[in-house]
């Protein structure tokens, strides 16, 4: 039997995220979006977002060899085109800083496995695939995070606060190997009164690319893309629980020191992450209860 070569990660992400399907349904649209992005009427309407894209591309994952070495000019052009097309496609959402890092990560993951595409044809195909993967991620997985008001991120921060306050109610498997660590971590963060909004933007709006070494971030992405957005919360709990030794060194009330640790956790192995994320599996019904409480709270604040 012939051996099947493992599928490159970017192809897997494209398929599992829904990007490949979007691409099939939208043949030729990406190049049309790029033409539109140069149209004077469009640029006059979307000028602020497009200008911000131009400012941010050179500082997207700037320490990575892909964006520093010989391929850097081509890589930046690649990234610029993807982001400009996004701004035109989703002018209702627009451009939020963080999207640049997510797009850059897609390119990085591809480049780290197969190198930078040398021929124009190969480049155009990969660019098309990555663009629709970006659209799928931002639309199917992260809808609501990047809007003007960032409501979904704020809701998730409130959910995390609820989980930190009573992890026992939210965690699905009390028998998991690292369960005690997760509960202890939640307790520490809750006791320090750490507002999750101090860490959630960096975690979620960059999908951990500003937080973890990229190889590890890619591994976390595998889980989020496969299991959906609940895994985003579970991953953040897992990352925090893996920082428990460092968090324990902080003064119990020093929320800022803890936030700094969570912004740049001491690197851990994939295996450690995999074990931790099992222990962080959430009970969907517990989340539903927390969400209902949030909705009630918001309704009350509107009435006040």
């Amino acid at each position: 039997m012939a051996r099947v070569a493992p599928q490159p990660r970017y192809m897997r992400w494209a398929e599992v995220s829904g990007g490949a399907k979007l691409r099939t349904l939208n043949r030729g649209v990406y190049s049309a979006l790029l033409v539109l992005a140069d149209n004077a009427i469009i640029t006059s309407r979307l000028g602020t977002a497009l200008a911000q894209v131009d400012l941010d591309v050179p500082r997207s994952l700037p320490d990575e060899p892909l964006f520093r070495g010989l391929d850097a000019p081509a890589a930046r052009e690649f990234l610029t085109r993807m982001l400009r097309a996004w701004v035109v496609l989703r002018f209702d959402v627009g451009y939020t800083q963080g999207i640049n890092s997510i797009a850059a990560m897609l390119l990085w993951a591809t480049w780290s496995e197969i190198g930078f595409p040398s021929s124009t044809k190969a480049r155009a195909k990969i660019e098309d695939i990555l663009f629709w993967t970006l659209v799928a991620l931002l639309t199917f997985h992260l809808e609501g995070y990047f809007t003007q008001t960032m409501d979904r991120m704020k809701d998730d921060a409130a959910l995390l606060a609820a989980i930190w306050a009573s992890p026992g109610r939210a965690l699905a498997d009390p028998g998991a190997l690292r369960h005690a660590d997760v509960v202890l971590t939640c307790g520490k963060l809750h006791a320090a009164e750490l507002d999750p909004l101090l860490v959630v933007p960096k975690w979620f709006l960059t999908l951990f690319t500003h937080v973890l070494p990229l190889e590890l971030a890619a591994h976390v992405w595998d889980g989020i893309i496969e299991h959906g957005v609940l895994r985003l919360l579970e991953s953040s709990l897992a990352i925090a629980s893996l920082s428990l030794p460092e968090l324990s060194q902080c003064e119990p009330s020093d929320a800022i020191a803890m936030a700094s640790i969570l912004h740049r956790p001491t690197p851990f192995t994939r295996e450690a992450f995999d074990a931790a994320v099992v222990a962080c599996a959430l009970r969907p019904d517990a989340l539903f209860e927390a969400e209902q409480a949030l909705i009630g709270e918001r309704a009350r604040s509107h009435l006040d």
Binding site: P62, T96, P201
Partner: protein
């Protein structure tokens, strides 16, 4: 080392995206500069101390995202801050307008006695200047702000602006800790003028 009392203050940086807020912090805290500084998402937290004659001022620095849609998070960042550096880019007049809006918001919403400094950053790019320094100085004076033109790249006036803030902050109303040897947890700044004794 004769270390006096240690005073800790929260300082927040605000300003339009890409004016150099994080670069000013990186220069002040680590004495470094990066041509392409990753944009700050949400906020970043760092600490650095400056020693004045007989006291040490420890800054807990909150560096914030500049893009407008992150503005709704800003009140959480400047809440309880005793000092702020509002940054604009001298090569881009729009960023001064944004800085003025931040000053107005701080004066209305932040702690009443907050010490605000205005930093006209990127002053090494004098050939591209779009904001007159005298105009900015006059605005700062009219609004009771400290003002310096700075360059994170050229290490110009970076430590100076933090020292000016440290001097202006009241040393009697905040919690102090008993005198003890200062533990410098961050690498000292290596730029020309040291902020610490």
């Amino acid at each position: 080392m004769a270390a006096g009392k240690v005073f800790q203050f929260k300082l927040v940086l605000l300003g339009e995206a890409a004016v150099g807020k994080s670069s000013l912090v990186l220069r002040f805290v680590k004495g470094q500069f990066q041509e392409f500084q990753e944009s700050t998402i949400g906020a970043a937290f760092l600490t650095q101390s400056v020693c004045l004659d007989d006291v040490t001022v420890k800054f807990e620095i909150w560096d914030t995202a500049g893009q407008e849609r992150y503005n709704s998070l800003a009140p959480m960042y400047y809440r309880g801050a005793q000092a702020a550096i509002v940054v604009y880019d001298i090569t881009n007049a729009d960023t001064l307008a944004r800085a003025k809006a931040w000053v107005k918001e701080l004066q209305r919403q932040a702690s009443p006695n907050i010490v605000i400094a205005l930093a006209g950053n990127k002053c090494d790019l004098a050939s591209k200047r779009a904001v007159d320094d005298e105009e900015a100085a006059q605005y700062a004076e009219d609004n009771g702000l400290l003002f310096l033109e700075t360059s994170a790249k050229g290490a110009i006036n970076v430590n100076e602006i933090f020292i000016a803030i440290a001097k202006k902050l009241p040393k009697n109303t905040v919690e102090t800790r008993p005198a003890k040897p200062v533990v410098q947890i961050d690498e000292p700044s290596s730029s020309k003028k040291k902020g610490c004794c």
